[in-house]
């Protein structure tokens, strides 16, 4: 290829990276700077070094928020990914016309603004007369649960909301991924084994690894960015005994309710390397695994 013209390269990459630097990189650096200064509403605070970070180590609510967010992320992952695999197989068994209708019905909650979703969740699912109690808890012989006041079930309510919201989209991705697997792999396996489980384990699952990895990362990131659902559901606080305190809710609360901008910035910055590390490792493992299998195939 001939010599690249740098002018057109800058023209192509420039606008995006201008936006990237101005609205992602600068806030990130600004956040690091902010976290070293005292909490003030207006003007410059004094330089306090690592004080905010030291205070965070003793902040039980911060760890509670991280714990809650991690449980929320794990819980929704463990429910959504297996369920979406099952649902994608169920979709596959339908005639194609019905398939798209059902798929659309499943996608509707994902298209809805999460604020609306939380409102509906409040009105339809929770409460004594709510659907969760009437359809699921009471027929199974349980006592009606107060989903948003009982600290033991608040997280479960948030996870249920997450499942409701994302299950359709993840199923959609998984199903598209399944259709992209070349049928010759299945035909090749037919010679070895006719067992449906083998088909799933040896062809479908490896074929879906990229899609599943993407969904995994997407769900984790979404859990750490969760705000609207918890904000509407719990009124901007952490709910009873902080059982539903999420990371972004806590950030928002510290900064905009209590005016502790410095601490709030420190909270965001402190969790960033962990998140980057975990997801980076995940992507790296996913890549390594796919290279290995790719190598053995070739």
């Amino acid at each position: 290829m001939k010599q690249l013209r740098y002018r057109s390269l800058i023209g192509l990459l420039g606008p995006f990276f201008l936006c990237f630097v101005l609205f992602w990189l600068v806030p990130l650096i600004g956040g690091v700077r902010l976290s070293f200064y005292a909490n003030t509403l207006v003007g410059e605070g004094s330089f306090v070094g690592f004080d905010h970070y030291r205070a965070l180590l003793d902040d039980a609510r911060y760890f509670k928020a991280i714990r809650n967010t991690s449980i929320y992320a794990l819980g929704s992952l463990l429910c959504i990914l297996p369920l979406s695999l099952v649902l994608a197989h169920a979709l596959q068994s339908l005639a194609s016309r019905w398939r798209s209708v059902i798929q659309f019905v499943l996608l509707v909650p994902g298209l809805t603004p999460p604020a609306v979703l939380a409102l509906l969740f409040l009105l339809v699912f929770h409460g004594r007369a709510g659907l969760l109690n009437q359809w699921f808890v009471m027929p199974l012989g349980g006592q009606p649960i107060n989903w948003l006041k009982d600290p033991d079930v608040i997280l479960a309510a948030l996870v249920l909301q997450c499942i409701w919201r994302w299950l359709g989209f993840i199923t959609f991705f998984v199903h598209s991924g399944m259709q992209a697997i070349p049928s010759m792999y299945y035909e090749a396996l037919q010679i070895e084994s006719r067992h449906a489980w083998h088909r799933f384990w040896w062809v479908t699952l490896p074929g879906l690894r990229h899609v599943l990895l993407f969904c995994l990362i997407y769900l984790i990131v979404d859990a750490f960015a969760l705000f609207s659902g918890a904000y509407v559901l719990l009124g901007g606080s952490g709910g009873t005994a902080d059982a539903g305190l999420m990371l972004v809710s806590y950030l928002y609360q510290s900064a905009l309710t209590f005016g502790r901008f410095g601490s709030a910035a420190a909270m965001g910055i402190a969790i960033a390397p962990c998140l980057l590390g975990i997801l980076g490792l995940m992507a790296w493992f996913g890549r390594k695994y796919s290279q290995q299998t790719g190598g053995s195939k070739a």
């Binding site: 990276f17 604020a115 990362i217």
Partner: protein, 281 residues
């Protein structure tokens, strides 16, 4: 056999097992939305009985009062939401498709490094950087301006990944032909762009939905009650007073669902195709 199945779907004997699972789940998923639509006509007492579906009367009064702007300037809020979501989505498609083209088709130094930087924006979402972002937006004087919401949304790493994959689908030969004809890379980008119609539309759609649904950034950047997006206005209406007619809230929620739903329905097929193309690679 083929003709028969095309006419009547699966034959009566073969009731697909998927139905046993999908009908209950579909019902649970769809019921709240059906209920929401029918609740536009109900009074508060009926709304707090979520098991009853049909309204006793068909009263359009709350909807009329909502549209007349009794609680918030409805049309202005709707207009602002639409403009912001559309603008953000168009901007993101422009910026990320240009950068995606460069990442997929051109070779330059620091490519891997820049790609990694883009991945970081996916992994570390701007919601977590909200406090310094607010600080910075205040500093450059975009506080209370729609640009302060739109620009941060356009720096979307997801779009870079999407368009890098999409442009990899396009054979290199086209680019080579364009270069032999003497086109610059900038021109070649515009020549290749029409081939990605479905992808552009799909990503525009995804980004529109993300922008339309965004809650936190508009909440902190925009100026309180004077500027609100529809989800914000609805969230602040909820729980404002006990005598407030919830039917209006349901009507507003219903309106808030219409734009993403319509866009999605219109581009469903293209979205599917583009997505399976991206996954195939």
């Amino acid at each position: 056999m083929r003709v028969e199945s095309r006419l009547s779907g699966p034959s009566p004997g073969a009731w697909p097992w998927g139905w046993w699972l999908l009908i209950p789940i579909g019902l649970v998923f769809a019921y709240p939305f059906l209920w929401m639509f029918l609740s536009i006509f109900k009074d508060n007492q009926e709304i707090f009985q979520p098991m009853s579906l049909m309204p006793t009367r068909w009263d359009l009064e709350p909807l009329r009062r909502l549209l007349a702007g009794e609680w918030f300037p409805f049309w202005r809020v709707l207009g602002l939401s639409l403009c912001m979501a559309l603008g953000q989505s168009l901007g993101a498609v422009m910026l990320t498709s240009m950068a995606g083209f460069a990442f997929a088709k051109l070779r330059f130094r620091a490519r891997a490094l820049l790609m990694l930087a883009c991945l970081c924006t996916v992994v570390l979402p701007r919601q977590m950087l909200v406090v310094p972002l607010l600080d910075w937006v205040n500093f450059i004087g975009l506080h209370g301006s729609v640009w302060g919401v739109m620009f941060p949304g356009m720096a979307s790493g997801l779009g870079i990944l999407f368009f890098t994959q999409a442009f990899r689908q396009v054979p290199d030969a086209y680019l080579e032909v364009a270069c032999i004809e003497g086109a610059t890379e900038w021109r070649a980008y515009w020549l290749l762009l029409p081939m990605l119609g479905s992808c552009l539309l799909s990503y525009g759609l995804i980004h529109f939905i993300l922008a339309w649904n965004e809650h936190l950034i508009p909440l902190v950047v925009l100026k309180g009650d004077a500027q609100q997006t529809l989800p914000l206005a609805l969230a602040s209406l909820y729980g404002s007073s006990l005598r407030f007619p919830y039917a209006a809230l349901m009507a507003g929620s219903f309106v808030a669902m219409i734009p993403p739903m319509c866009l999605f329905l219109l581009s469903y097929r293209r979205f599917r195709n583009a997505l399976s193309q991206i996954i195939l690679s």
